[in-house]
């Protein structure tokens, strides 16, 4: 009866088979609603809601397959992360590190301590050296996506916010470089191909830097001629970032390094301040929302069953290491212990960066990736909801969020201006 009517109405196929676009739109609406609800009712960052929507998808068994990012999903993740990394990079003032060397030391100490803590924790759990080493490179970095997004949503400003951004950009940089080195070493280990083991990381690095320079130069060129606060020129900017990104994919370069370094270069080779709407306006905002839903959907019940214990230990060790390094160097670098604690808290999120590194590993070393996926996915699952809240707490502890921030009277989104 129903099928006949469907045939009459030319609904084909029957029953309807919604495609990716349908699910994507549903995700957008669901994530958007949940984000708004979480923000208004609980006073939490909206991305907690986006991620929760993703986690619900995963709970229903529709999540990503062991952290593999297929086709369109990978594109969305890459694009959204590229925008966030570019934004983050464009706020890194290298001159600051020269004026305040204690900050550079904090960065080095924080990253090194996290790396060692994760490695030691995993070795203690009996994981082999290559697993411990790879995981350490993947989990060392704080989440650029969470940090950048929460800071702009809360309109936070001050030393902890600034340092959180710089330290995140730097540890993301270290993490990606180290990761490439370690995967190069995996080649060496597995295939005994030492030429490939050395040339691949070098190629990735050099190629990414070259592409980043090109992107930074193009953006600077465009910006000198157009008003960046204008909606049209922002679209052009968005187009440039996307173009650079797809080029990076075509030549198997790092989709993380290119936008991050382009941002850093843009900031440090030009004097003029860079102002554009947050996440490059609405288009970017949509991508960012989808990114968090996707990353939220990365886990699976089986993965967490397998990896939860190890992930919990690793996260605890990592948080302790970051706290020790950042708080220890706080006063020397010119902030109070309380601010140091807030900063350490704000550096705990893990999210998209780790997922992309895992997805890359799936491509280059499928079997190996499958083995470490449970721990990475568990860590992401834990921090997906806790991370944004930790950043919010940190910024609040430092007194850098807007006091009496009333969602009902929230200012229009976007705009550093």
């Amino acid at each position: 009866m129903l099928a006949e009517m469907a045939g009459y109405l030319q609904i084909d196929p029957w029953p309807p088979a919604p495609d990716l676009l349908f699910w994507g739109a549903l995700m957008l609406v669901g994530g958007g609603l949940l984000g708004e609800a979480v923000f208004r009712r609980l006073g939490l960052p909206r991305i907690v809601g986006y991620s929760a929507a993703g986690m619900a998808v995963a709970l229903a068994g529709q999540g990503l397959d062991a952290g593999r990012l297929a086709g369109g999903v990978r594109l969305v993740v890459d694009l959204a992360l590229a925008l966030l990394l570019f934004e983050l990079g464009s706020r890194v003032n290298l001159r600051w590190l020269r004026a305040n060397p204690a900050l550079l030391w904090t960065s080095a100490a924080e990253s090194l301590a996290s790396f060692v803590a994760i490695f030691v924790a995993l070795r203690w759990l009996g994981q082999p050296v290559n697993v411990a080493l790879t995981l350490a490179t993947m989990l060392v970095a704080a989440s650029a996506a969470v940090v950048g997004r929460v800071a702009s949503e809360l309109r936070s400003a001050g030393q902890v916010t600034e340092r959180m951004i710089v330290l995140t950009a730097l540890n993301t940089l270290y993490a990606v470089l180290l990761h490439k080195l370690v995967t190069g070493w995996l080649h060496l280990d597995e295939a005994g191909n030492w030429i490939q083991g050395i040339t691949q990381p070098v190629y990735t690095f050099v190629g990414s830097v070259a592409l980043a320079i090109a992107l930074a130069k193009l953006v600077a060129w465009v910006a000198r001629r157009l008003e960046l606060r204008d909606e049209n020129s922002v679209l052009l900017l968005l187009g440039l970032v996307v173009l650079a990104l797809t080029t990076a994919q075509l030549f198997n370069l790092s989709t993380l390094l290119v936008p991050l370094m382009a941002g850093v270069m843009l900031r440090n080779t030009t004097e003029r301040p860079w102002v554009w709407p947050r996440h490059f306006g609405t288009a970017g905002g949509v991508l960012v929302l989808m990114l968090f839903v996707i990353v939220g959907a990365a886990w699976s019940v089986e993965a967490v069953m397998l990896g939860a214990g190890a992930a919990a230990l690793v996260l605890a060790a990592r948080a302790a290491a970051k706290a020790l390094a950042v708080v220890g160097l706080a006063r020397w670098s010119g902030i109070e212990t309380r601010q140091g604690l807030a900063l350490a808290l704000a550096l705990t999120p893990i999210s998209g960066t780790a997922l992309v590194l895992l997805a890359d590993l799936h491509r280059s070393h499928p079997d190996f990736a499958l083995g470490i996926a449970p721990i990475v996915l568990s860590a992401i699952a834990f921090m997906e909801l806790l991370g944004p809240i930790a950043v919010q707490w940190g910024l609040r502890l430092a007194g850098e969020t807007q006091p009496r921030h009333r969602p009902a009277a929230a200012p229009a989104p976007g705009g550093t201006v």
């Binding site: 305040n100 400003a157 003029r272 301040p273 010119g334 902030i335």
Partner: protein, 374 residues
């Protein structure tokens, strides 16, 4: 609270206070970093002091008691260098200017101190709009009566000082058309304006007691007058200046005021009278709105001329006092300013005209403040 006695101070000594903007180096919007900056400055040995101000993206510096323009400039330089060095460690910029050109006042946070929180309660949005930055100059007076006479004599030159120091053409991202839009914010306060025309301390005390009896004021701090006596220091305090973009200009303005004071005290070029205040608000408005091109109405003769003309005439009369006070450099700077840009408001407008981006204008203001401009 009583008025207290008028402290002893050496005649014609100088002290300068400057309120500064703290901005982020990312977008050059105001940055709430006063507390961090003060903590770093606490470890430094500087002449004078650095203190918090109303909102946490401003900071105030003051020199110690100085004898002449050279000392003021030297002290300002020492404090400025220490401040800029600390600011570099925090990745923030410091700049002059009477207003921040594009800050959103609703985003400002009141610095956590009881007095500031009280004022914030009382004045509401006005206190956040009060995110404005001024220069105050103290002139030492041998006694309270002399202080009041000097105060009323100096009032004639308030329009000069407004026009010369003006550096606040932009507010909330728009060109106000004014050279000093900052003073419009000051005039919104109920107790702003000028001091009552009394020339003896006894009369002033009587006025103050009457005011306190009404419960409207508690201390001298509640008066936002253009010039007010400061009994604790034994000075009169000129408060109409916008914070200039450079310490050189700030020191020159202090030197100009010192020369005016000496001229008024020694030569007594005119006798202050209540009627001098008849064109006062007109003159002040002209100076705020049009800077040096504003019309100046001579309070004694009723003649109209431009402020630029009146300043040039005054500069001539000050030459000899500048020599006595070793303030020739200050007078030369003012002369050059009058001949060239006129004031910092003009510089800000020209820079905006060229750059078309207020964030970039603030960045260049930071360079000027740090003494790093070409």
């Amino acid at each position: 609270m009583s008025l207290g006695t008028f402290a002893d101070s050496r005649s014609l000594t100088l002290g300068v206070e400057l309120e500064l903007q703290i901005v982020g180096t990312h977008d050059y919007d105001l940055s709430p970093s006063a507390k961090d900056l003060l903590r770093l400055m606490a470890k430094r040995k500087i002449p004078g002091a650095v203190t918090p101000e109303m909102t946490d993206s401003m900071i105030e510096l003051c020199t110690g008691v100085c004898n002449n323009h050279g000392e003021v400039l030297a002290q300002l330089k020492e404090i400025r260098d220490a401040l800029v060095d600390s600011a570099d460690r925090l990745n923030v910029g410091l700049c002059g200017g009477g207003t921040h050109p594009f800050q959103d006042w609703s985003q400002r946070r009141i610095f956590n101190r009881p007095r500031f929180q009280q004022l914030s309660e009382l004045y509401g949005y006005l206190s956040k709009q009060f995110t404005i930055f001024g220069q105050h100059v103290h002139i030492g007076c041998p006694g309270p009566d002399q202080a009041l006479v000097l105060l009323h004599g100096m009032s004639r030159f308030i329009p000069h000082l407004i026009a010369l120091s003006a550096s606040s053409p932009f507010v909330q991202g728009t060109d106000t058309g004014f050279h000093s839009a900052r003073l419009n914010s000051v005039f919104a306060f109920p107790l702003s304006g000028r001091a009552p025309f009394v020339t003896t301390w006894d009369d002033f005390k009587a006025f103050f007691d009457k005011m306190t009896r009404t419960g409207v004021v508690e201390s001298m701090k509640d008066f936002y007058w253009d010039i007010r006596p400061k009994p604790e220091y034994g000075t009169i305090e000129v408060r109409v200046l916008d914070t200039p973009l450079t310490i050189e200009k700030a020191a020159a303005l202090a030197g100009y005021i010192q020369c005016l004071a000496r001229w008024l005290r020694i030569e007594r070029p005119f006798e202050p009278a209540e009627d001098d205040y008849l064109p006062y608000t007109f003159n002040r408005f002209q100076a705020c709105r049009f800077g040096l091109d504003g019309v100046f109405v001579d309070p004694k003769t009723g003649e109209h001329r431009t402020l630029r003309e009146d300043i040039l005439v005054t500069l001539g009369a000050l030459e000899i006092h500048a020599m006595e006070l070793q303030a020739e450099e200050a007078i030369r700077t003012i002369r050059m300013e009058v001949a060239r840009d006129g004031n910092d408001a003009t510089w800000i407008r020209a820079t905006h005209e060229r750059e078309r981006l207020l964030n970039e204008v603030v960045r260049q203001q930071c360079l000027r403040w740090a003494g790093r401009h070409g």
